[in-house]
Subunit: 141 residues, 4 copies
Amino acid sequence: MTDTYTHEIRVTWGDCDPAQIVYTARIPWFALDAINAWWQDTLGDGWFQMELDRNIGTPFVSMALDFLHPITPRHRLICEVYPTRLGQTSISFAVNGRQDGVLCFEGRFTNVFVDPKAFKKTIPPEDIRSHVQKYLRAEGT
Amino acid sequence: MTDTYTHEIRVTWGDCDPAQIVYTARIPWFALDAINAWWQDTLGDGWFQMELDRNIGTPFVSMALDFLHPITPRHRLICEVYPTRLGQTSISFAVNGRQDGVLCFEGRFTNVFVDPKAFKKTIPPEDIRSHVQKYLRAEGT
Amino acid sequence: MTDTYTHEIRVTWGDCDPAQIVYTARIPWFALDAINAWWQDTLGDGWFQMELDRNIGTPFVSMALDFLHPITPRHRLICEVYPTRLGQTSISFAVNGRQDGVLCFEGRFTNVFVDPKAFKKTIPPEDIRSHVQKYLRAEGT
Amino acid sequence: MTDTYTHEIRVTWGDCDPAQIVYTARIPWFALDAINAWWQDTLGDGWFQMELDRNIGTPFVSMALDFLHPITPRHRLICEVYPTRLGQTSISFAVNGRQDGVLCFEGRFTNVFVDPKAFKKTIPPEDIRSHVQKYLRAEGT
């Protein structure tokens, strides 16, 4: 498990609400930052470059998150990211956020690959498929 | 169905990403704005007043959203909100967002009622229970 | 003064930080929402439609804000918006935010008109110029 | 100048608007993240810890930014941060953001020190004063 990709987030005062914990709506944002960082740090290109340079869009079709523990600025938020499923035209990710070793949220996300101009589902290019396959991992393993 | 609560959102340029549609991470934010507005417009108090004046916190334990159609600034986003379940110490909401009559996202959200100081689950006061019960509706009805 | 354009914002729990007031970085965001709403409600088109349908971009070159009073979810935030200067290729706006009659922030903003493709300064079309001129008002009047 | 504090920001797809550059309202947010990081990385405590552990609030009284060059996800945004003035009860910061060596924005920010409970101006403790003095630098030097 030592080689799972992680993305670190500095949680701030401005991310928190009056309950002194991160406002819930910030957490999917953090998770998306983590998925974008996964693409950028493993493939070399984030969503911006994928869409503009590679002509591949990956709009989200679903997300589901469980919030297990409050997130605060006391510790960095370490987001573990890995693809859990690669379909013909879709990809699913797990994003699990931890602070000081404590699991704070678990998220599951699914994108479809699209041609950005037509905004229609498309099969991703082979280099993307083979890249993702190297990182595929069943959930809970 | 004519009396379901709806919250209207003016979608802006700044909500959109380079694909010219609303950035995915904004959508749970919109949905939470809609749930907060439901409390404020039906009960009279939003989360801020519930926590500070009524001493009731409602942290989220889960959310799940399906994204069915892109959201743009071309139309207002009309978010239908209703509670779907009232447990002993929890409440679930449906939030369905439409633009120009087209369903753009469906979201399901669960909060627990807590004592804000202890951050422990608590049974909500009777006036909150009876308020919610008036609006309870099965999903899909 | 009764006919100055105002844009109303519902301030929420999620806009606030642990000091129980709106986080400072949200306030320029509110002010930009107010300027976008001014365009949309007076001209008929917000920034999204101006850029995509009218081929006019208005990037910001400067902003300056004074924060005079904390903003909370206790009242709606009423943002008064008016253009204060129309240059050959630029426009300046005043945005003043009030809650319950109390001035909370004063902001001054300057945009340039650009051709979105070239991202070069351009003279705005005559209908835009004459539209803005109807609303021009010196600051402090 | 080699020892000026810098804070690095990964600019993302979600920070950008349909013009394919960072949405203006995100830039003050970035600058505040940079000031908070300056406190956290030089003093050891960010705003959250300052307010909750040290009982020092630093609400903003003003900000002014010039936007000189569009910001994109093509490069990291390097924010140089330093205090430019320490008054009896206030502090001013310069935040200058660069991408690939190009100055993208210049910002000037002023906070007052307050007692968080009373929300009244207060003289900061001596260890904060002496800490800030080590980093004070005239603008433009």
